[in-house]
């Protein structure tokens, strides 16, 4: 019988992992979209995040018994690592014309929305932030985790996370006001 994330995680078997996937897939998928501005890319990134979670399950200590902060961190790391390595991810985002949303599978399934343009603008700024601010933004603003959770998963004091977000927020507001 499924219990907390920590208990499922500790069990480490396939059924427990499947339960964790079912529990958090939607949240990670939405977070992945906020990291990529593409539902297609979000699908691949979500899959890769859970695959990575499965591989590293024995190495991980969950924060507050919840797998979600760590899954968000993995998703961010994957997107960032790939971005740093090849730079193609960012180019792919830029390649998408603002007035022509990429017609991916998910967007055929659910109603298309016009969020992508604004999100790409935000991601442009997020991508240019210093690493510490970017991580805090991804977890707290894009992922909507609490600053306490972000602090634990990042290994810093909560006040540091608040400070990083405060600085980043100013830049994001500036983007919004353009």
């Amino acid at each position: 019988m499924p219990d907390t994330d920590a208990e499922l995680w500790a069990r480490g078997d396939k059924a427990s992992f499947a339960a964790l996937f079912d529990r958090h897939a939607e949240a990670v998928w939405n977070h992945a979209y906020r990291l990529t501005a593409s539902w297609s890319l979000a699908e691949d990134l979500t899959s890769a995040t859970f695959l990575a979670a499965w591989r590293r399950r024995s190495d991980i200590t969950l924060v507050r018994d919840s797998a979600l902060p760590w899954l968000y961190t993995v998703a961010g790391n994957l997107a960032r690592t790939e971005f740093r390595r090849l730079g193609r991810f960012r180019r792919a985002l830029r390649r998408v014309p603002d007035d022509d949303v990429v017609p991916d599978h998910a967007e055929r399934v659910i109603a298309a929305v016009d969020d992508d343009r604004a999100l790409r603008r935000v991601l442009d700024v997020v991508g240019s932030l210093p690493k510490a601010e970017r991580e805090a933004v991804e977890l707290c603003l894009l992922g909507e985790l609490s600053t306490a959770e972000a602090a634990q998963v990042l290994g810093v004091a909560e006040v540091s996370v608040r400070s990083r977000i405060s600085r980043a927020r100013a830049r994001l507001r500036a983007v919004e006001e353009r």
Binding site: P2, A25, L86, H105, R173
Partner: protein, 405 residues
């Protein structure tokens, strides 16, 4: 879980995860069936046809994802859970299968068995897939799609997502990888080979395939979104088995995961249903004491989870399953189900840790209840710890109160 003080400007709202996207990711991530010993990475594929028996082999490489999680010790190689692949190949087809597909038995080259489905490969690149509730055939007139510079081709994407292609002549090895957003190779995917065909049971949105041939490697990119839509490439019809359609659909999707507890799907009947909502649950039972709990997502049947099979042992009520969903970090849903002694129990009331009381629905000895507005899933030990079940007799009197641990 407290919320940040502000949100990002123009941050798009969260969306419900469409069931087909969930299912596709789930197959890719969790796979199906019992975990088998992983095949050697990049194992050579070969097909042996000896004495009429066709043997298919699959390749499944090791993951190559680069991850830097915040709390790690050392990297530990672990078997990947992705495990949906060809499980059997038989020459020809049964008369019934051939008839359902509109093929003559003699036209069918072989039947490929995968979890929860069979694919018939007939002459002239005609294919047909049979599941518990659907039959679909390819439309050869939709054409094939060149791959690896035309040396290979994609022939069909079946209704369940299995992608079928033809390998270059003289292929001795096939490797399939999925590209992350950057396009870089990330993870090897299962690919099975049967005679001159390759099958990709779990398709990612974008994949890279490399064929090893005598003249060297040939590679190609597969973009699922660039392929024809299902209605262009396939003609499908639903073939409902006898009985309840939600149960049939739920078991159909569940069997595709390769589970081993369904047995004969025709034995299963509907039980209690939690009621309408984005996430609803239907208890089902096999008329022999085994229960499962079918997720009904946005009104559509999704997959089922098996219930605990321990004996009732004289208990008035037995919780056999529970689940929690935490789409919004600030709240969650908890559902639970089980069985009751129908001779003595006329009703159940579930009281959660906050004192909210929800009546459980009882049908054919099964019950299920869904409780909304629950604390975040990570905020307590055990989904149902502290819950109470009030057991009512047929006169609506409380005869027992069970506290869940």
């Amino acid at each position: 879980m407290s919320q940040p003080e502000t949100i990002v400007p123009d941050l798009p709202p969260r969306r419900p995860l469409p069931p087909d996207v969930r299912e596709r990711m789930r197959r890719r991530v969790v796979g199906g069936g019992a975990v088998r010993t992983p095949l050697a990475a990049a194992a050579a594929v070969a097909v042996l046809a000896a004495g009429g028996a066709i043997v298919a082999q699959s390749t499944q490489g090791d993951d190559t994802i680069a991850v830097a999680p915040p709390t790690t010790t050392s990297s530990t190689a672990a078997p990947s859970p992705r495990d949906v692949s060809v499980i059997a190949v038989a020459p020809r087809a049964t008369e019934d299968d051939a008839a359902r597909c509109g093929f003559a038995v003699t036209e069918v080259r072989f039947t490929i068995g995968l979890p929860g489905r069979r694919i018939l490969a007939a002459a002239n690149d005609r294919f047909c897939e049979i599941t518990h509730t659907e039959v679909s055939r390819n439309k050869p007139e939709a054409g094939t799609f060149p791959l690896a510079g035309g040396a290979a081709s994609l022939l069909w994407r079946a209704g369940t997502g299995v992608l079928i292609g033809r390998m270059p002549a003289g292929t001795s090895d096939v490797k399939l990888t999925v590209a992350l957003p950057s396009g870089g190779p990330v993870v090897s995917m299962p690919v099975s080979v049967v005679e001159d065909l390759f099958l990709i049971p779990q398709s990612a949105v974008r994949m890279s395939v490399v064929f090893t041939t005598a003249s060297g490697p040939l590679s190609g990119e597969i973009d699922i979104e660039a392929l024809p839509r299902p209605d262009v490439w396939s003609q499908s019809r639903q073939e409902w088995p006898p009985g309840d359609r939600v149960v049939a659909r739920c078991l159909d999707l569940t069997m595709r995961d390769g589970v081993d507890w369904v047995g004969d799907p025709l034995k299963w009947r509907p039980g209690a249903f939690s009621g309408a909502g984005v996430d609803a649950w239907l208890a089902i039972h096999d008329q022999a004491g085994v229960t499962a709990y079918c997720h009904v997502y946005h009104g559509e049947a999704a997959t089922a989870r098996p219930g605990d099979t321990s004996p009732q042992d004289g208990a008035l009520v037995k919780v056999r399953w529970s689940d929690g969903r935490g789409i919004d970090p600030t709240s969650a849903q908890v559902a639970l189900g089980g069985t009751v002694d129908t001779a003595k129990v006329g009703g159940l009331e579930i009281v959660d840790a906050q004192g909210q009381t929800v009546p459980a629905v009882l049908v054919e000895g099964t019950f299920v209840a869904r409780l909304d507005d629950q604390p975040p899933l990570d905020a307590r030990r055990g989904l149902t710890k502290g819950f109470q079940i009030r057991v009512l007799d047929h006169g609506n009197q409380v005869v027992e109160t069970v506290t869940l641990e």
